[in-house]
Subunit: 130 residues, 4 copies
């Protein structure tokens, strides 16, 4: 039940090497996570308004190949429970034309309330069944 | 002999949570690495023009706390040799006002020529003594 | 025969005011122009590789309202010839849910060759009939 | 009494043409405006927290030349009163090495309260004397 989001490289995302800048993949991953959450009833922006902040605490990213101008790709999101308060997202960026893996990542997050204390909303909690 | 680059948060780097967006740290780290390289005679942009591309192959980032609007900070860069063709950068983002660690990262890179084959320019090679 | 590109706000594009940052509209407009050009046989990235650079020389942007997290929108592109060497793009950003105008813009560009001299490729030229 | 902010191009701000992407100048201008405001006792981020939003309503940007990797530059900010509720910023981006004008811009803004109604804080008002 992996979530998939189809996207396309935008020229302004490419740097002077003529490829998508490494930092942009972080944006791709974030956007895909938020779309995954939204589809499952969790609205990142609305939570932030209510002072409940989902935050990334660790990112591991293995860059396998580089997306280029014009490339279509999709981002996969697979939730995985790591502990009572930590949840993970296994994420992959895959080039559409040949299904080639471009990026393999594990993003680990947690959730805090207004006071910065751990607080996991129930709708987030239930998405990450061990 | 750790290299340090002093920077300041720019408001447009902050997201709807009111803090620096996670992806922006990737930019901070890249900019600090390139300044470190430049100070040591390695010009990333000029190398790219000559079709020699320094590329990131893995990033590990531990987010400890969040930079906010107005914060001054510095980025540390410490080179570390990982293998014949792989070089690493231990990087930390530290808030200036209280020397608090905001991000602890290890960025692993390699270098490829026009054909995508491994090729380590001598000026890069000598920066990463085991 | 206005070209339209459908997009959706990404949370990382929003700033600390909780709305899409003004600078991001510039990205939206650029991406829409490049998609318009691509559909008409002009590949911005390939031209850049051949050292023919399409460049923006003036931008006029009227911000009418602000896109928010979750908003779907589309970007319109309407080419307009301004002179022998200058071409314009009338562009509008429109929120999908209510067809509300968010941004009204005129982007003026020209084209230069490797030496920085004016040079308009024929495939660009024919897109901008007076 | 023009305010000046010294900056340096960061490689990730450059696009596949090998020059600073047009949209990035918008970021430079915004950052310089906010630093100007801060030096004059107006904190954009704090105002946003208090639901008073300074917003851009029009931008006119004339691109004269392109900043490249390694370039140092400064951004000028000169406030100008346009009407009771509209204030302007004349802004220029100038390359340091030869004082060459890269960008000439006029940014027009206003200020709104929580309800989206015009509201000009006194500390903003007094910065823009006709």
């Amino acid at each position: 039940m992996t979530f998939k989001l189809a996207l396309k490289v935008r020229d302004y995302e490419c740097d002077l090497q003529g490829i998508v800048n490494n930092g942009v993949y972080f944006n791709y991953l974030e956007h895909a996570r938020h779309e995954f959450l939204l589809e499952n009833g969790v609205d990142f922006a609305k939570l932030a308004e209510d002072r409940i902040n989902l935050v990334v605490i660790r990112a591991e990213m293995d860059f396998k190949d580089s997306l280029k101008p014009g490339d279509a790709f999709y981002v996969e999101v697979e939730p995985t429970r790591l502990s009572k308060l930590k949840f993970g997202f296994k994420q992959r960026v895959i080039r559409t034309q040949d299904n080639k893996l471009m990026l393999d990542a594990l993003i680990i997050g947690t959730s805090v309330n207004e006071k910065g204390r751990p607080f996991l909303p129930i709708e987030v909690d239930k998405l990450f069944i061990a």
